[in-house]
């Protein structure tokens, strides 16, 4: 990623980036909304100022320098502009037709005319004028009632400015508020239970990104996972992680018939890693904060779409219940894919939070419970695949449990909020976990188990209480780590 060095911190979309440091209720795209409320040329302001053109008559005015982006078409000598001064057409009333000497004169007080002084009132109220200008304005206020009135108003307005308190909303508030609403008026189109962790996790991550400046967006992040039972990692940036989430969530989007966020970019394989790689490579610039909006739009579109198509999928009825999301090397039923994406969203949000040194909490208990449940459901299949590949021990003695019959099982006990117990059949994905055939018992904290399944801790290091068949425990922990991927 050598582009990263060529474009270290410059974000093309972010010329006014400093304003984004403020707490904002919503994106700057809404900034122009109050247009028309205030009559005094407010609408013009939004348009003119956005264009950075200065609006009025730049280049013809004797300002202390031409606007950098728009040199005068005919570079008139300064003196002659000042001579002609007044007759220039279309002077807005905030304009500045008077000649002005940029060099402050030490002795003689500045003499400026009413229009110039009026135009200075805002700067004056903010104490952002030169001492000479300040003195000239203040002298004028004694003589001019209109300016004095405005000056008072503007001064009072300054008193209303205060630093934005950076108050982070409690992420748990979202769930409480939504829950309260839905109890008062039950939804006709609910968000399926298996999609709500994704809804919650994407909202949490988006809130984390809210106040990020360029430094955070380009902070280095190391993605870590297990491959062939060895820890692997890949370097990217915060924006690169969001691009990764965008492209992999895109697998679900495509399965649902939504637009592929990859657009024209072709991946050589339809796997999460290949798609991410292709997306990263296809861009001339490293990803920037600009990736946030498409990522967030897609997350909302996914939740909305599964609510419409997948509501009945819970019970296995309905078309969506059968809908599978292909990941290239394997596929997951839609509801498991949404849990998988929720899990990935949380894991990578934690990667991002680590990279920028923000605190980040685990998901709510009920969401975590669903995510652990997904891992527990996947383990038997992964175990049998690993066994076929020679990566896990063959079942001892009697084997081949008939489908639907109880088989040798490992009890997975997850502690803490969102915890529970799962019986993992060891010898066949088709077997049923059975307490009578329990051969081992592993106990872990929920977040620790998820870190294991995310490939962030190795099976050897995972703080797990273990009783029983050593080989079975080792196989299950390795299989859990092998669930991780880029």
């Amino acid at each position: 990623m050598n582009e990263a060095q060529r474009f270290p911190d410059k974000d093309p979309d972010d010329d006014l980036g400093e304003s984004k440091q403020r707490k904002q209720a919503s994106g700057p795209e809404e900034a122009g909304e109050p247009e028309g409320t205030w009559e005094d040329g407010f609408g013009d302001t939004a348009a003119g100022a956005d264009a950075m053109s200065g609006g009025n008559d730049d280049g013809r005015h004797p300002t202390s320098g031409p606007p950098p982006d728009q040199p005068p078409r005919i570079p008139l000598p300064r003196a002659s502009v000042e001579d002609t001064g007044r007759p220039l057409p279309a002077l807005a009333d905030l304009g500045d037709p008077a000649p002005r000497d940029p060099a402050p004169r030490a002795a003689a007080p500045l003499v400026l005319e009413h229009r110039v002084l009026k135009a200075l009132l805002g700067a004056w109220a903010l104490a952002a004028c030169s001492p000479e200008e300040t003195a000239a304005v203040e002298e004028h206020l004694g003589d001019c009632g209109a300016c004095a009135d405005e000056a008072r108003r503007l001064r009072e307005a300054v008193g209303l400015l205060h630093p934005a308190e950076s108050l982070d909303l409690d992420p748990a508030l979202r769930a409480r508020v939504l829950q309260g609403c839905l109890e008062r008026r039950p939804p006709r189109i609910p968000v399926p239970e298996w999609a709500s962790p994704y809804d919650a996790e994407t909202a949490r991550l988006d809130a984390l990104l809210q106040d990020f400046g360029d430094a955070e967006w380009h902070a280095p992040v190391r993605l870590r996972w297990f491959e062939k039972d060895e820890p692997t990692s890949r370097r990217t940036t915060v924006a690169g992680v969001i691009a990764h989430l965008l492209t992999v969530d895109g697998l679900v989007a495509v399965a649902l018939g939504l637009e592929d966020p990859m657009g024209e970019v072709a991946a050589d394989r339809p796997t999460p890693a290949a798609r991410t790689d292709a997306y990263w490579r296809a861009s001339h610039f490293p990803p920037t904060r600009a990736v946030r909006a498409p990522w967030r739009e897609q997350t909302h579109a996914l939740v909305r779409t599964v609510a419409f198509t997948g509501g009945a999928g819970d019970a296995g009825g309905g078309a969506a219940g059968k809908l599978a999301v292909p990941y290239g090397d394997f596929e997951l039923p839609l509801h498991d894919a949404m849990l998988d994406r929720a899990f990935e969203c949380w894991v990578h949000a934690e990667d991002i939070a680590d990279a920028v040194d923000y605190p980040y909490e685990p998901p709510s208990g009920s969401d975590l419970h669903q995510m652990v449940g997904l891992a527990a459901r996947l383990l038997p299949t992964v175990l049998s695949a690993r066994r076929r590949a020679g990566l896990a021990a063959p079942p001892p003695g009697r084997h081949l449990v008939p489908a639907g019959e109880p088989g040798r099982s490992l009890r997975l006990e997850i502690e803490g909020s969102g915890g529970g117990e799962w019986l993992i059949p060891l010898d066949s994905p088709a077997a049923v976990g059975s307490a009578e055939h329990e051969v081992a018992h592993v106990a872990l904290d929920g977040a620790e188990f998820c870190r294991l399944a995310a490939g962030h801790v190795s099976p050897a290091e995972a703080a797990a209480g273990q009783v029983g068949d050593r080989a079975a425990i080792r196989d299950v922990l390795l299989a859990a780590a092998s669930l991780s991927r880029m």
Partner: protein, 195 residues
């Protein structure tokens, strides 16, 4: 960054989806407006828990009465802001009145009204700052918070000095309208867009 759903289309669609009873729309509504709502409520009430309550009430109201919003009257955002203001001031009144009663009638209702008016102006001012065009806000930010004079502000923003002065004056003019609606308690106008 091209926005597919710039208001007011977004507003109208959101209203339809809420009316249809789409829980996913409620989530999106929250994601877009929660920090606005909570921030305004917090400015009025000065208390985290109370602001949480108002946030809950505002979203519940919108969810239960999506038809109360009329897109012709202005953006959804200003409707939500006005609603927040009303509920927050109601709550402030109730809390303060209860406090007055508890403390044995000390303090006058004038004082209460002054407090309410002050909180209303502060909340409107915050809303105006958040909603003003980004170039104006950026100019105020530099001149006020970073203590740049208007020439430095102009240089920082890459605009002429004329333009910098114009933005500072216009920004403050907008902000000063926060005082205007203060006289009419109960009806909190000033959340732009209803022109």
């Amino acid at each position: 960054m091209a926005k597919k759903d710039a208001p007011p289309r977004w507003d109208r669609k959101m209203q339809q989806r809420l009316a249809r009873g789409e829980a996913a729309a409620l989530g999106e509504l929250y994601d877009r407006f929660a920090s606005l709502v909570h921030g305004l409520a917090h400015t009025v009430l000065g208390d985290e828990r109370a602001a949480d309550h108002v946030t809950r009430d505002v979203f519940a109201h919108v969810w239960e009465h999506p038809d109360g919003y009329d897109p012709k009257q202005g953006p959804l955002r200003s409707w939500v802001a006005t609603l927040t203001h009303r509920l927050a001031v109601q709550r402030l009144r109730a809390t303060e009145t209860a406090a007055l009663a508890r403390d044995g009638g000390q303090g006058s209702s004038e004082e209460l009204e002054r407090k309410v008016r002050h909180a209303s102006v502060a909340a409107r001012a915050d809303y105006i700052v958040q909603s003003m065009p980004v170039p104006l806000r950026a100019a105020l930010e530099l001149a006020y918070f970073q203590r740049r004079d208007y020439r430095q502000t102009a240089a920082d923003l890459g605009v002429t000095e004329d333009e910098a002065r114009r933005r500072l004056r216009l920004g403050l003019q907008l902000l000063s309208t926060a005082h205007d609606a203060g006289a009419a308690p109960g009806a909190p106008p000033g959340y732009g867009g209803a022109a």
